[in-house]
Symmetry: C3
């Protein structure tokens, strides 16, 4: 056993540990819905279990390959790399019983992660992304339609941005696009898919003669709300620090940036909400404040100093408060948990901030040595170029994910006579007499 | 510090982490009962706390030695090895402050695990085994009778199968019997002890003049049900991958087989249940599906490929559905949580499957280099021999555990004037007028 | 990369993992309040979220430095060491991106922990200490007063004992005072601050004309109670074993002492309570028994054998039962969760026991090679000296923390026209007609 093997072991241990934490987050989103909307929404838990199971199954089938196998011209991972179902019945799969996954060799990221470790980590990421989308479908979308959608989602829709940005042979990665732990690949893309759901739902609601999209009422269940927040918070301990794909000096900084941004955003959200209303903001803003801080730091947690994380966290509080008001204006949009003002906006905002706040020393420590300093740290022309690349990447990914998602939903809607439920039976609208 | 010490450290860290996850599972079984039977069953939580405490205390007293100390003629671990209570007051116990536990030296398993790490891991296993038994006693068995039973259970009943199969000097181990993480030692044996409880309970119920065993009604509490499932699922992340007793390439495959079997069994249970009833199977089948996949893969998670794990998971769904119907026929058997169709049958089925699906390359990577290929991978005569050994081991262990358990319950019943509660007071039967 | 770096990596991984477990404990205290007092106390969760956020923010601001930077004459850590906010925007902070934190170099503790790891671990400790204090304020103290108090608390009040006892240049540390994981620094000091709250509250209650301090009624919620216990129990897996600040042979013994003391205290509390009342002690005593065992072992978990841990655990049961009765006599004291008979008394009792039960071999293995054997192990004069130092340290720390806390509360009370709530509105006293 060489010294390199000895180093690889803690790296794999760390990423396995992180994967388990991220795995918690999918079902935690189910508890979040129950915490915000009430215990009679237990279908949320069945939905998030279904997402967990479908993610593991279909990512193993082929989705992991389409995202993380060597790409075909930078566009999509080779779906047959190593074979379907992670090699099926054979032990002769690269990185399974010996050696490491191709992109974790010293030629690429060099952290020595094996196929088993990497698969579990990324399947948990794919799973939680769809769980974020799922907060839109509550009571409105048939469970079988949502399950059917998950199949192309895990096979191709989630995989494409990952193949482009996180795969070291992806075309956006090669262009210089960076997204540390998924401001775009997870949170932004979840928003794009969510928007596709909203469009299809609204199209069907208009057909039903509705003038506006029925909204699900907030009905707090404090204990489950805070338990879900706690699970999400510790989940993010895997989500961001685990994304270094190694345990070293850089990882320990990512723990700091992640937790300090959360604390800062929490205090800032409470503070500005108090300024707005002059009363105790209550648990819902406490929870959303923490989440907003965690979301905003996600795309650049490995690129910035602890101090910058606190600034970004502090800024993200008022952004959420303003955006929440803005999104609530649209009568065709029902977003009870805050997918758009929280996850989508926060994720994209953080991604753009890379070009402003990144610092090369931190980025290098977490495995991204080529990222240049941000505009605010004298990055100059390099930073402006980075800004252009990030914005370009956002536009391309959001458009692609939206289009593919909408296409799938349109097909599923056609096959199942609509993806929406019977609103009278679900008590979303009063029964006709 | 030598290179070997450096390797041992991550192995111990991994097993400590796994032990903590397995430790969660005992009280998670208490939440499972509340999730399936309703919040007024809070005694389940006291019971599972009692099991956790008793397991740590009596395994430390002597039970760890009877299972894992060098055996006396392969039959039982030396109860005085290192002294009672893990050496009591002295630091001079092998593996405590330096060196490793005897069976973890390079002469045997060679993973460098110390006494402290190994004790916590195995005490958590013993604890969760009795927690599985405990789902049978709900409302029917006096808490003091159950506690008294736990003492001989942790001192000798749990230890014997472990000494025979997991101790490298045990007679079944030396014969070639293998059981990766406890298809027989945990799940099968829990069924045998559960059967002994059922027999003693039914004997007392007949004396009370009952014509059939009163059944506890299912009354779902979705949030606690899914939280317990989540705890059990992540518990299994320690249960199976931790059973490699090391963190290396083999461990990472066990993570895959465990989680993929769970996902596959979940989808298959939902699918076949839907075929049976043509309606949404609901949360209870979702939870039982995941559990069945985790149970079936347990005895061979370290011996098979990810593809085989998905096949076994898929098959286990209909097995559970069929067995559940079959066991529900017996009027003398009340098994509200599914100990027999789930844990016992699933564990034994998986144990037998070793002889069919094992692949030498995977077994070697998780520390079992002498296991031959299974029948379906050209194992031929060696596989048939393995099949005979596994079946023989199952028969011997189930019979021994049943006999010892029944003997203890008979004695406790005699001492306490019956182990069963006052059924009228517990509202299991209507009060007499 | 040198061999030393390779050793440091698992140490950091272990402490990060431990930090996450300790982080869970703050909000777990919120669930404990809900579990003991009922679900309508959801403000407890907002309070514990506020503590978590404030701890991270103000410890990052300056509190970590005042506790763990090189001290000014042994009295307080240099508040500007490395700069506020962990260096703010610069990567040039010792231990952040390379090297290790000064006190973790081989000149001092030598475990190679970095700034990031150490900060998260200790911020979680500070946070949970205030959470223990917070069980006193339920319904009685304005949330804004409690939040204001948290600022000086994390900047200076929590830091002083840590700087004196855990900082290797602290004056009490240099005198020979030892407190393994916080019997005094956490549990005892939490009691001192709690007492300051009680004094300020009682002073204001007397002004309101009250003859005794209104008590909050116990109203068990079994599921949340046991979930919080489970979170606290696994939290202690990080709290004590993590306090070795390394993963090695000593750590694995601390896992044993921690868990065995818990199990032993649990059985002993149940047993003695049963002797007192001749009926099932119920969940509340089960939970308090486990907690008492965990508290008592905290200050010496790294200094004693597993056998001694079981003895101390066993003794701690009756101590808690007696103290609970004693403290309940005072009409000016409302302590529904048991801060004083549990945390304060248990922590101080354990701290004193160091001088009786410590064994040099165990202390050395967990990083304290200069601690002498205790009185019961032939420590003789050295042990008597240690006893004097421990008692002296307790008196100095308790007095200082009480005085500083009371001063801050007095100032906050003056600024906010009292720290207490409107008792009629909170339904602590009947509304006046």
């Amino acid at each position: 056993m060489s010294l390199q093997d000895v180093v690889n072991v803690p790296n794999n241990l760390w990423v396995l540990f992180s994967a388990l934490l991220v795995f918690l987050m999918t079902i935690a989103v189910g508890f979040l819905e129950i915490g915000e909307l009430g215990e009679d929404h237990s279908k949320s838990l069945l939905k998030t279990m279904l997402i967990s199971g479908s993610a593991l199954f279909f990512m193993a089938f082929i989705g992991f390959n389409t995202a993380f196998a060597p790409t075909i011209r930078g566009f999509i991972g080779d779906p047959m790399y190593g074979g379907v179902f992670l090699g099926g019945l054979t032990p002769n799969v690269a990185g399974l019983l010996s050696g490491v996954w191709w992109s974790m060799t010293s030629e690429y990221f060099g952290t020595g992660i094996t196929l088993g470790t990497y698969f579990i980590f990324e399947a948990a990421f794919a799973s939680v992304t769809l769980a974020l989308v799922g907060v839109i479908v509550l009571k409105k979308v048939k469970l079988e339609a949502f399950f059917l959608f998950s199949i192309p989602y895990f096979i191709i829709i989630w995989s494409l941005p990952a193949a482009w940005i996180w795969n070291p042979t992806g075309w956006l990665y090669l262009m210089g696009m960076r997204d540390f732990a998924g401001g775009l690949v997870v949170h932004g893309a979840a928003g794009a898919t969510g928007l596709a759901f909203i469009c299809q739902i609204w199209r069907e609601e208009k057909k039903k003669g509705l003038k506006e999209s029925p909204k699900v009422q907030i009905s707090l269940n404090p204990s489950w709300l805070v338990l879900s927040l706690l699970l999400l918070w510790i989940g993010w301990f895997g989500f961001n620090p685990g994304s270094v794909l190694a345990i070293d000096y850089g990882t320990e900084v990512v723990v700091l940036t992640t937790f300090l941004s959360a604390a800062s955003a929490f205090l800032s959200t409470m503070f500005f909400r108090y300024l707005m209303t002059r009363q105790n903001p209550g648990l819902l803003y406490a929870v959303n404040g923490v989440l907003m801080g965690l979301i905003v730091i996600t795309p650049l947690a490995g690129f910035v100093s602890p101090g910058v994380a606190m600034i970004l966290g502090f800024v993200s509080g008022p952004i959420f408060l303003y955006a929440e008001t803005w999104f609530s204006k649209f009568k065709w949009l029902s977003d009870p948990i805050g997918l758009f003002p929280g996850h989508m906006l926060g994720g994209l905002f953080g991604t753009v901030m890379i070009a402003f706040f990144a610092k090369q020393a931190f980025a290098a420590a977490s495995g991204f040595p080529t990222l240049s300093d941000g505009l605010l740290f004298g990055g100059g022309y390099g930073a402006i170029q980075q800004l252009g690349i990030e914005v370009f990447g956002i536009v391309v990914v959001m458009a692609t994910v939206f289009a593919l998602s909408y296409l799938c939903l349109w097909l599923i809607g056609a096959a199942l006579h609509g993806i929406t439920t019977d609103y009278e039976k679900e008590k979303l609208i009063p029964s006709s007499p």
